[in-house]
Symmetry: C2
Subunit: 400 residues, 2 copies
């Protein structure tokens, strides 16, 4: 019998308990042993909950119980999750987590503590919710040099962008709906400004390089500036608009960005809609592959945590592979990335556009403005040129 403690009985934590209990017979069969939730740590009590007798308020109960070999940290935030995780690892318990903020900030440190104590620290659920991408990178893709990752890594923004595209609605209205439906938080900044996606692409970049890529070093733009006219242009070009997190892995470091992109209908990421997420990976041998699923949601995220629990249960005493070290990875200047841009300008600027960009193909959908797609150029070049157009409205990057 393997005994597990769950830290935090919120959305994900209660989902973890549910998956472990509802699928217990399948899990026992596949692990060859029963897995039981012994403790649930929470500040609150849960009178009437069928697991109320498992609730404890003091982490020490868990740390000092030698029967507990696996701890699921589903509290979120850095404090006290970091200390609890570290203490658990030092007490010889393996830890798995859904906490991307903690993993992005302290991943290599907690991995090192785990290694010292001959236990494991896993975090499948911290990126892509139910999408099993991290274990794939560590195992099924271990033979690959992963040259590039493009991901739709945030469900809230993808929900908003999908709804804006389908209904021609504007950003503020759709955000409000998303908040009412529980798909967006009251303070939506972490999602809509791209920070959540940025943390996730930082973790993915760290795993594929084996070094540490910090979110703070990644250029991040959100979706708050996207309007219905952008979607009109996208539709005209048979493209969709997605918040893309991109990381290009070269010998001299990674180049990464989070920003809204127009993406063509032939690209598999084009059709990833609503709260679904996807990670599109290019390996030097494998070519392109994509992993698609629910990027958030109680049971999908909990399922990924339980996958880690099973991995830990099956591999007690064994070091599971994870290439991530605390060596700093060079993050290169994103303005050297080359791509096409869609630029919207006021009709009065035709002459400047011609002088600056040369002959272009105008897209005319509205009276007082037009747009065009540039030739491929660096971000830096484009920025310089855009500044020469006095009445430029805005630009959106093209992904392909």
């Amino acid at each position: 019998m393997i005994k597990v403690a769950v830290l935090g009985y919120g959305t994900v934590g209660s989902g973890v308990v549910q998956v472990l209990q509802d699928n217990s017979s399948i899990i026992s069969k596949r692990v060859g042993e029963d897995i039981e939730v012994k403790y649930i740590l929470d500040l609150r009590d849960f009178p009437g909950d069928k697991n109320e007798d498992k609730v404890v308020h003091d982490i020490k109960v868990i740390l000092e119980d030698p029967e507990v070999s696996i701890v699921c940290e589903t509290m979120g935030g850095v404090r006290p999750a970091f200390q609890f995780s570290k203490d658990a690892l030092e007490a010889g318990k393996s830890v798995c987590t859904s906490n991307k903020e903690l993993v992005e900030n302290y991943g290599p440190e907690l991995l090192a503590v785990a290694k010292e104590n001959k236990v494991n620290y896993l975090f499948e659920a911290s990126v892509g919710g139910g999408i099993p991408i991290l274990r794939a990178i560590n195992t099924s893709l271990a033979q690959e040099k992963i040259e590039r990752i493009m991901g739709i890594l945030n469900g809230t923004t993808n929900f908003i962008l999908t709804k804006m595209a389908k209904e021609g609605a504007n950003y503020a209205d759709v955000l409000k709906q998303a908040q009412e439906m529980g798909y967006a938080e009251r303070n939506p900044e972490a999602d809509v400004e791209g920070h959540d996606a940025g943390r996730k692409i930082a973790i993915l970049s760290s795993l594929i390089t084996g070094k540490t890529v910090k979110f703070a070093d990644i250029h991040t733009e959100g979706i708050t500036n996207i309007d219905s006219r952008d979607f009109a242009y996208a539709k005209k070009l048979d493209k969709s608009i997605k918040l893309i997190a991109e990381s290009v892995n070269a010998d001299d470091g990674v180049t990464a960005i989070v920003a809204p992109f127009m993406i063509g209908e032939d690209h598999p990421l084009n059709g990833v809609n609503g709260v679904f997420n996807a990670v599109y990976v290019t390996g030097n041998m494998l070519g392109d592959a994509m992993f698609y699923g629910q990027g958030a949601g109680k049971l999908a995220t909990a399922s990924a945590v339980v996958a880690d629990v099973i991995d830990l249960a099956r591999n007690a005493g064994k070091q599971l592979p994870c290439a991530w070290t605390d060596e700093k990875c060079e993050v290169n200047d994103f303005t050297k990335m080359v791509r096409k841009f869609l630029l919207r300008v006021e009709s009065t600027s035709r002459g400047e556009v011609l002088n600056t960009f040369g002959p272009i193909e105008e897209i005319n959908l509205f009276d007082e403005e037009f747009a065009f797609v540039t030739a491929p150029m660096t971000e830096a070049d484009f920025n310089k040129k855009q500044k020469m157009i006095k009445n430029a409205i805005k630009a959106i990057r093209l992904a392909d």
Copy 2:
């Protein structure tokens, strides 16, 4: 130093050697040890090949060399691949393979031999080429009851159907092109009749049930009957036509089918084009997830074989999880599956259609025929009704 033997120096086998050699520094770093190809078994010699000195003609050289701990079987076919694999396992060597015919026919037997000899038998590359779906089922999805799998599992047929859709070309012409481009074999039967996809869905069904599902028990239809008018109707309905392998996993057994389906534009499988494949999985906790990549091709398939090599190298002496046993899985009558159908009928049959199906919405694209989509009904019901229409032309199933 881990020493590997590769059986068969054809397309996949030479790809395996290439991946192991070209990515050797990445692989060594991730495994913590070097992996070297010591032998290549083939009937032929390869004068001038940089690995010509590794080529041997007698399997005994490999079986009797205690230095070889991992054997990659990339020969294809059942004879002598089965005997060589079994002998290698009995000699205490782990085996990995890309050979779906062998796995479908002898998977549980070879898994049992591996277990007896405390080694492993892995076969990631046998389904979906470079798509890491089998390891995901055995690890990342081990906590799930997988209720349904829908896959585009054959690159040749998907290439043909994609080209027919895009170019309005007919089947025979596109098949000929595919053969000239090397995407279809001279004798294309195994692909175009759905047998290849059938073997793969049999393997997937076995893995998700933990029992054995035989290809012979799965109803299989190919694409040879699909014509340009079918695509015209599909386009009218905003759907694509794909050769889908479907397996529904219930408590009383699986119900499975391989056949062309019309699939709506909102479904992620809709956009899987050309030689790409995808496996769409529904778990009872996770919900829907999809794995997408190159279903065939030298390096993609070889990459999957090498992923198995790495797994074997990292887990020497340890039994890797695989739920598949030789217990027979009940395969239920596919005619009890409920879905909609598109039925094409000659214009002369309007009256019979009305009498049999009731009021329908006609799709009129051609002078002498029309089509309509039925209400959801069992295959058996539909077949009975279709027989009552004297001038019915043909039917295609709808996937959603």
